[in-house]
């Protein structure tokens, strides 16, 4: 729930500060449409936009402790607040509300900044501790909730989204070329860097303490460790059974505490294994009527509605789906960038925004999803792909081993159409001793999109290598982990918070004031996932092996055994052709591209022309097309400051009523 913003140690009159805090919180008002609050005192100013979910009557923020010496502005949920509240009551703390927010201030009194280590939840908050004259900010372990800040002299400004910070005098929207290079390599910038020069992200699982002297310290309070390869053995059958039971029990508990809410909780039901077991667990824990939601696509290549109908029938939910057409993706795209606040090289966030809009229209503020299972329990194809590439690399002469590559992506027609030798050459990318080996085909294809960088931008990037930058950040123990753990670390620590949970997650859901809750990202389950031997996670080429075994009793057998179909959105083919929205040609025009200066206008013109005449763009070209277009849209919205204009154009332009279908 909610949006937060604030100031610390920035000299201005009380009136000016109130006004600025009002504008900052207004900029993230979409995150919390149910009420706003501001607290300003001495060097600090805290602001809050509320999406009320717990203690609807009394949960307003900013909120303080008994004597008003500790104040908090908080976005998110502390799911174990019931247990923590009981502990704090026993210690003599007085509570005025039934909210999880109040638990934060009282536990802070007890433990100081280390109180974060006791929270099980998704949170981003700032605490003003007037006794110690310090501002403390923290973010949840997995990076579900966002938090950005900018240093200004001895002070700082912070907010749930960057747009709040752009109201602060001295903070300007200027593109950081290194961040753009990272996005055109990994799909996201490496935290704390953002696309905005001078604006940083507080990384997941980190604490920031700012003193009035201007001293700011940032430190991690949690990190995930995998077993050393030598300890990563398949355990005895009896131990496997114990692990499966532990996983089942933790998953049920993680789901149970995520049902704590004073408003109804719905479920995203894609039809895949992860969302199906999550929905099923909710049905087991709560007997009342459950509403579920999904997005459907016109093209059979992406659409999963047959699976969704099967699950709805099996689980007995009341289901509503919304059809996301190709044209919807192109129409929503500027709004997607407005919320993602950065370029995206994939079209997948747009349907998530269409879906959250449906959920909101149906009167829901909270949805449970299966997000995180693929990272924590190794469900992504990239894990199998890396395993297979290592298998081929061990016997480079073998003609039979590479035949397996084709089996990896049965759902990708473009890949199925390729010649065997080209597949091999493509997947042979990289040296098996490289710590980034698992991700090299993806990083290499993505980096191909850099051919569009302008000569000026290339000059600024001379001497910078994004891959080396990432390699230098890996923990010392990385090289001693099993290759699967290494690949999981790259997905869980980087892609998950920096792309999946943000561009595709929080920002797309909170654009419509919808809060996602993710049982698989409960840190107890994440720690268990890291501890489970690699061979139990990917067995031969079966992904999520132990997760399936452990949770299969929650599903009808036919569904539990279904092969994986990852969430993918249709290519943005509607960005060209007769239906293309006007902004596309405008933003990709030679003059607009050259004026922004990031890309080569002639090259972009050729790409646009190619997209218009080709039925299907290759992977690299498609990523480049979206990356260039979204950077150009970003530039217009944030650097040229057209955000407000575009927003009103977007809402005044009649969006066709999406096709909504409800059944149970």
């Amino acid at each position: 729930m909610c949006g937060i913003a604030g100031l610390f140690g920035i000299d201005m009159s009380p009136d000016a500060k109130q006004g600025l805090l009002g504008r900052m919180i207004g900029a993230v008002g979409h995150r919390g449409p149910d009420g706003q609050g501001i607290y300003a005192d001495g060097p600090v100013g805290l602001a809050h936009a509320r999406l009320s979910i717990l203690d609807l009557a009394a949960g307003a923020q900013p909120m303080c402790n008994e004597d008003g010496t500790v104040w908090v502005t908080f976005n998110g949920e502390i799911f174990n607040y019931v247990e923590l509240r009981n502990e704090l009551l026993a210690l003599g703390h007085k509570f005025r509300t039934q909210s999880d927010t109040e638990v934060i201030v009282h536990l802070y009194e007890e433990m100081g900044p280390d109180c974060v280590t006791r929270f099980n939840g998704d949170f981003a908050f700032a605490i003003w501790d007037s006794r110690n004259n310090q501002l403390v900010m923290a973010r949840d372990r997995m990076g579900v909730r966002p938090l950005f800040y900018a240093r200004l002299g001895n002070g700082l400004a912070f907010g749930s989204e960057i747009k709040a910070l752009l109201h602060v005098p001295g903070v300007n929207a200027e593109l950081d070329p290194i961040a753009l290079d990272q996005i055109f390599t990994f799909w996201f910038p490496l935290a704390p860097r953002t696309l905005f020069k001078g604006i940083e992200e507080l990384p997941p699982a980190h604490l920031l303490v700012a003193k009035s002297s201007g001293d700011v310290s940032v430190r991690p309070y949690w990190s995930l460790n995998y077993p050393e390869t030598s300890d990563d053995r398949v355990p005895l059958v009896s131990d496997q059974a114990a692990l499966e039971e532990e996983l089942f029990a933790l998953f049920c508990d993680a789901t149970r505490i995520r049902l704590r809410s004073d408003v109804p909780v719905g479920a995203y039901l894609s039809g895949g294994f992860d969302s199906s077991v999550t929905t099923s667990a909710i049905k087991h824990l709560k007997t009342e009527r459950l509403r579920s939601f999904s997005v459907t696509f016109e093209s059979a290549e992406f659409d999963e509605s047959a699976f969704q109908r099967e699950m709805v029938a099996a689980l007995g939910t009341e289901h509503t789906s919304v059809l996301c057409r190709g044209v919807d993706i192109a129409e929503h795209f500027p709004n997607v960038i407005e919320h993602a606040e950065r370029p995206i090289l994939r079209s997948a966030p747009a349907p998530m925004m269409v879906l959250s809009s449906l959920v909101r229209e149906q009167g829901f503020k909270v949805v449970m999803t299966g997000e995180g299972a693929d990272e924590v329990f190794a469900g992504y194809d990239i894990f199998k792909e890396a395993k297979l590439r290592r298998f081929c690399a061990r016997q480079p002469q073998s003609r039979s081993r590479p035949q397996l590559l084709r089996r990896l992506y049965p759902y990708l027609p473009a890949l199925q159409g390729q010649s065997q030798r080209y597949l091999e050459a493509f997947f042979a990318a990289g040296d098996s001793g490289d710590p980034l080996f698992s991700h090299m085909p993806r990083f290499r294809t993505t980096s191909g999109a850099k051919v569009f960088f302008s000569d000026d931008l290339k000059r600024e990037l001379v001497g910078y290598d994004a891959l080396d930058d990432l390699r230098s950040r890996l923990p010392a123990s990385f090289s001693r982990w099993h290759p699967l753990s290494q690949a999981q670390h790259l997905e869980t620590t980087y892609l998950l918070p920096s792309y999946i949970l943000s561009s595709q997650g929080d920002r797309m859901a909170m654009a419509n004031a919808v809060e996602g809750r993710f049982p698989f990202l409960d840190h107890r389950l994440v720690e268990l996932g890291a501890r489970i031997p690699a061979k139990l996670k990917v067995r031969a080429l079966e992904e999520k092996h132990i997760l399936r075994r452990s949770l299969q009793s929650l599903l009808p057998e036919v569904i539990a055994k279904r092969p994986k179909q990852p969430y993918r959105a249709p290519d943005g083919h509607s960005f060209v052709g007769a239906d293309a929205p006007e902004y596309v040609a405008d933003r990709l025009s030679k003059s607009a591209v050259n004026a922004a200066g990031y890309f080569d206008g002639t090259a972009v013109g050729r790409l646009h022309a190619k997209a218009q005449r080709s039925a299907q763009l290759g992977t690299r070209d498609h990523m480049a097309f979206l990356g260039v277009l979204s950077t150009q849209v970003w530039h217009r919205q944030f650097v040229e400051g057209a955000s407000t204009t575009l927003r009103s154009q977007n809402s005044s332009k009649k969006q066709e009523t999406p096709d909504v279908v409800t059944f149970s």
């Binding site: 390729q418 030798r421 050459a425 493509f426 051919v451 080569d600 080709s614 992977t619 690299r620």
Partner: protein, 90 residues
């Protein structure tokens, strides 16, 4: 090795430049450089190349010929086209 027809080389280079490199910057790719290694053509892009060769040179490309030896540099593509044309003319 026989010398390659400059016309074919030029046509292939222009196609690769305009469709994969998107610019005329000759420094970026040499005639014998691997297009796969240089990140210029990815595994889906090679099918675009095949379509171009069939349309513009009137040759027919068999699946078994879509291999890096035939398709991975401007030079190898040109050599392949010449060979095919000679075969098909014969």
């Amino acid at each position: 090795m026989s010398s390659l027809s400059p016309d074919i080389m030029q046509a292939v280079r222009t196609f690769v430049s305009e469709n994969f490199l998107f610019r005329e910057d000759r420094d970026t790719v040499g005639d014998s450089e691997s297009l796969l290694d240089a990140n210029i053509i990815d595994s889906t892009g090679v099918l675009e190349l095949v379509a171009f060769l069939e349309e513009d040179f009137g040759i027919s490309v068999a699946d078994s010929e879509i291999v890096p030896e035939n398709m991975d540099s401007i030079e190898s593509i040109s050599r392949y086209v010449e060979r095919k044309r000679a075969q098909e003319a014969a």
